[in-house]
């Protein structure tokens, strides 16, 4: 391979990665993109060029296909990484930790509702649907279950005054109002619905969700990119962190998201 060829290969590899930086652009919309995706699949040399360029930039290539385009994920501390700290920056008041956790939690909950079963996350053809109201109610329900468990176990629940960061997340979530209006009649951003709506809109901007309609506080469907992103990167990383904290849960292969039979909240919750 001549030097000119190498330069050409590197240029094309960088071009493919540049396409990946525009998350809402799909290969089907751009001839050049389609060509590069095809080349990635067929040409092992090109593939290694793309991976090397990405590595140099601090990016991992998660998937390349005609359906998803090139899906990229940031390496830890890369220049392309989005920090939860920056994302939740608006909330300067109150406990920073808690604010960050609630925003991060909204993202986990959206993914969990979009891919309720492990199979859904694994199956490439699955398209999830999620609405703001649904996410809010499911998380709240999960919090109530944990609350009932804590009551049953007679745990001393209320957080310590001098150590608010030791309060469990579900308590912090339940304490947040579901929704509220600001003085001029807009939905308040600090409520759980506000946090969830912000996350949903952010994911739309990132090309991970597409809005379907305005039902139930906004209904969205997932894009194939989101599935890849959650499956290949986000869930793995978060799970690793949990393992490091010695939090290991065993669930059956069918998943654990269930509707509680004849739960009062289900019947009366209109």
């Amino acid at each position: 391979m001549s030097a000119v060829d190498v330069i050409e290969q590197v240029t094309d590899a960088a071009r493919l990665i540049a396409f990946g930086l525009r998350p809402r652009l799909m290969p089907s919309r751009d001839l050049c993109y389609t060509e590069l995706v095809k080349r990635f699949a067929e040409d092992a040399v090109f593939r290694s060029f793309v991976e090397s360029v990405a590595e140099g930039l601090g990016i991992t290539v998660l998937d390349v296909s005609a359906r998803t385009g090139i899906v990229l994920g940031p390496v830890a501390d890369s220049a392309f990484e989005q920090k939860l700290d920056d994302y939740a920056r608006r909330a300067i008041l109150g406990d920073r930790h808690q604010e960050r956790v609630l925003h991060g939690l909204a993202h986990i909950a959206i993914a969990a509702l979009a891919f309720p079963r492990p199979d859904d996350l694994a199956a490439d053809t699955y398209i999830g649907r999620v609405s703001a109201e649904q996410v809010g109610s499911v998380v709240r329900e999960a919090c109530k279950m944990l609350s009932a468990k804590a009551v049953a176990a007679e745990e001393a629940g209320d957080p310590l005054v001098e150590a608010p960061e030791l309060e469990q997340v579900w308590r912090a979530y339940l304490r947040r109002p579901e929704t509220a209006l600001t003085k001029d009649g807009r939905p308040a951003p600090s409520t759980t619905q506000g946090v969830i709506t912000k996350a949903l809109r952010f994911l739309v901007d990132q090309g991970f969700l597409a809005k379907v309609n305005d039902d139930d506080g906004g209904t969205y469907r997932t894009t194939p990119r989101y599935q890849v992103q959650v499956r290949e990167l986000a869930a793995e990383r978060a799970f690793t962190e949990l393992l490091a904290l010695n939090v290991i849960t065993v669930t059956d292969p069918g998943g654990s998201l269930r509707t509680v039979p004849a739960a009062p909240a289900e019947v009366t919750g209109v």
Binding site: I108, A112, D124, Q168, D184, V230, R231, A244, T251
Partner: protein, 537 residues
């Protein structure tokens, strides 16, 4: 109107009755006069209300029973407080009813005998003679032995068809004495007594469901439209509730078939909802017919509008029922389609994380401080890349030239805040105030203004202004306020006619002194005589 069949026993052999009449002075001649008016919180009842009349009559039928308990204390031959007369009366009517076949009633003595165990149970320590006497007293009263027509009479008032108030009489009897073919006297229970005391009173008065049904039916029939509207709306809420529950179940089914109990729970729900729809559909069609009629016939424009509103609501109810029914019918199909999709599509070939069970729930259970790491990891992994946003000249020009959009449809109007002007900055600093206070702390002898000004000028060029200002106040000090505030001393300035010779100020060169306030005068009304002004003088 019933004509009391007094002929039946007049002239016939009725020994026991005569016996009672002689013995029992309290029985007899008691005509029930009850005036019942249908006053309804001042709201005039414009329409002739048959139902109200019926209820007044039914209520009248129970009056003799209540009356027994009311009059029992007046019995002279025994202490009747121990007996529950209304209970015995109902037992008597029941016994007569049981013993009564189609052509024969119960024998008088037979009824008394059958009643004895119930009477005895109420006061076991009394003797049998008294029990029998009580039983006879009750039976005689139910027949109303002493009255001429052996019946009861109730007055009730009702608004007639013409809209005017009419007072009517209702004659009724509870136990009727009839002569059998062999000349014996038999007791029968009147139709009124059977209808009211045996039939109508036998109701589960606490049943909310029956009450609701009766209420709705009554409201519609009686033309109380606003209440009917409420009842119809409540039925509609129930329908919406069913629809909502079903929607949630179907939604969960679309997520995961196994998450919902399709063996028992959902079929039960569907059955329940279908029953509800069937009932409501029938009821609401009846209401609709009724109300439409009421709307068309109503003359008063207010009622007409109310009825028209109700027609709309009921139509909406029916529409919702139909919708719910369609959804219920489609529920099974949705389930089967989802089952096909989820169960028979084959398992995915790679292992994946159960996001809900492995991530969400464990994170919820963590302390906030520990949860930062996993949530941050998920966020940075799941939010994609960020790229530096550089401003582009093309975009900038475009943005500057764009006509500002009217964002009124996005947000409500931004409220204009009430702005208060900032308070004026202090003309003198606190140090300057302290300096003047030190200067004005005069010990014994009063000082001239000119001296104070000169001394102040040496300390600070601005200070004379503050001195002059404070001396101005001292010319007419607020002594009353100072006394109320329990101040120990007050600054006084007195003009003795000496002109002021100063480069900055002009006027009188006043004498300035500190006047001590007499502490012994505290608590009384401010009295200037208590001020020792000798220093000033």
């Amino acid at each position: 109107m019933l004509t009391p069949q007094t002929v039946d026993f007049v002239g016939s052999n009725c020994t026991p009755k005569r016996h009672f009449q002689m013995e029992d002075q309290n029985v007899g001649g008691h005509v029930y006069l009850r005036t019942m008016t249908s006053s309804d919180d001042g709201e005039p009842i414009a329409l002739y209300d048959e139902g109200l009349a019926r209820r007044l009559k039914a209520l009248a039928c129970t009056a003799p029973l209540h009356d027994l308990d009311g009059r029992k204390m007046r019995l002279e031959w025994c202490d009747a407080a121990a007996y529950q007369m209304a209970e015995i009366a109902l037992q008597a009517i029941d016994q007569v009813t049981i013993a009564m076949d189609f052509d024969r009633g119960a024998d008088h003595e037979d009824v008394v005998r059958r009643l004895l165990p119930f009477v005895a149970a109420q006061a076991p320590e009394r003797d049998g003679v008294e029990h029998a006497r009580i039983a006879r007293w009750v039976v005689d009263n139910l027949i109303n032995v002493g009255s001429s027509d052996r019946g009861f009479r109730a007055l009730y008032g009702i608004f007639g068809v013409s809209g005017s108030y009419e007072r009517r009489v209702f004659d009724f009897r509870l136990l009727i004495e009839l002569a059998g073919p062999d000349g014996d006297i038999y007791l029968r229970v009147s139709d009124e007594a059977i209808n009211v005391l045996v039939g109508a009173l036998d109701t589960d008065v606490e049943s909310a469901q029956i009450a609701a049904e009766v209420k709705l039916e009554n409201l519609i029939r009686r033309g109380r439209l606003s209440d009917a509207q409420l009842a119809a709306q409540q039925a509609r809420y129930r329908t919406i509730q069913y629809a909502e529950t079903l929607r949630r179940k179907l939604e969960a089914t679309c997520r995961d078939v196994r998450a919902v109990d399709w063996e028992h729970e959902v079929p039960d729900l569907i059955d329940e909802a279908l029953t509800h729809i069937a009932e409501r559909y029938r009821a609401e069609n009846a209401i609709l017919t009724n109300i439409t009629q009421a709307r068309d016939e109503a003359e008063d424009s207010g009622r007409k509008r109310k009825a028209a509103d109700l027609v709309l609501i009921v139509e909406d109810c029916i529409r919702r029922h139909t919708q719910l029914q369609a959804r219920l019918q489609g529920a099974g199909r949705t389930f089967r389609a989802e089952q096909d999709r989820q169960q028979f599509s084959g398992h995915a070939q790679r292992a994946a994380i159960d996001l809900f069970g492995h991530l969400l729930v464990p994170v919820l259970g963590l302390p906030v401080a520990d949860a930062v790491a996993p949530t941050s990891a998920f966020f940075s992994g799941g939010s994609g890349l960020t790229s530096a946003r550089l401003p582009r000249l093309v975009r900038l020009v475009e943005q500057l030239l764009t006509v500002p959009q009217d964002k009124g449809h996005l947000l409500d109007e931004v409220p204009v805040p009430d702005l208060a002007p900032l308070p004026d900055p202090d003309a003198f600093s606190s140090e300057q105030w302290d300096l003047t206070s030190a200067l004005l702390e005069l010990e014994e002898a009063p000082r001239r203004l000119s001296g104070l000004l000169a001394e102040a000028r040496e300390l600070d060029p601005d200070l004379p202004f503050l001195i002059a200002l404070r001396i101005m106040y001292a010319i007419a000090p607020e002594i009353g306020v100072a006394v109320r505030q329990h101040d120990a001393a007050i600054l006084l300035a007195v003009d003795d006619g000496t002109p002021l010779l100063d480069p900055q100020f002009g006027g009188s060169d006043v004498l300035v002194a500190v006047a001590r306030l007499d502490t012994s005068a505290r608590g009384t009304a401010p009295d200037y005589e208590h001020l020792r002004k000798d220093e000033v003088a």
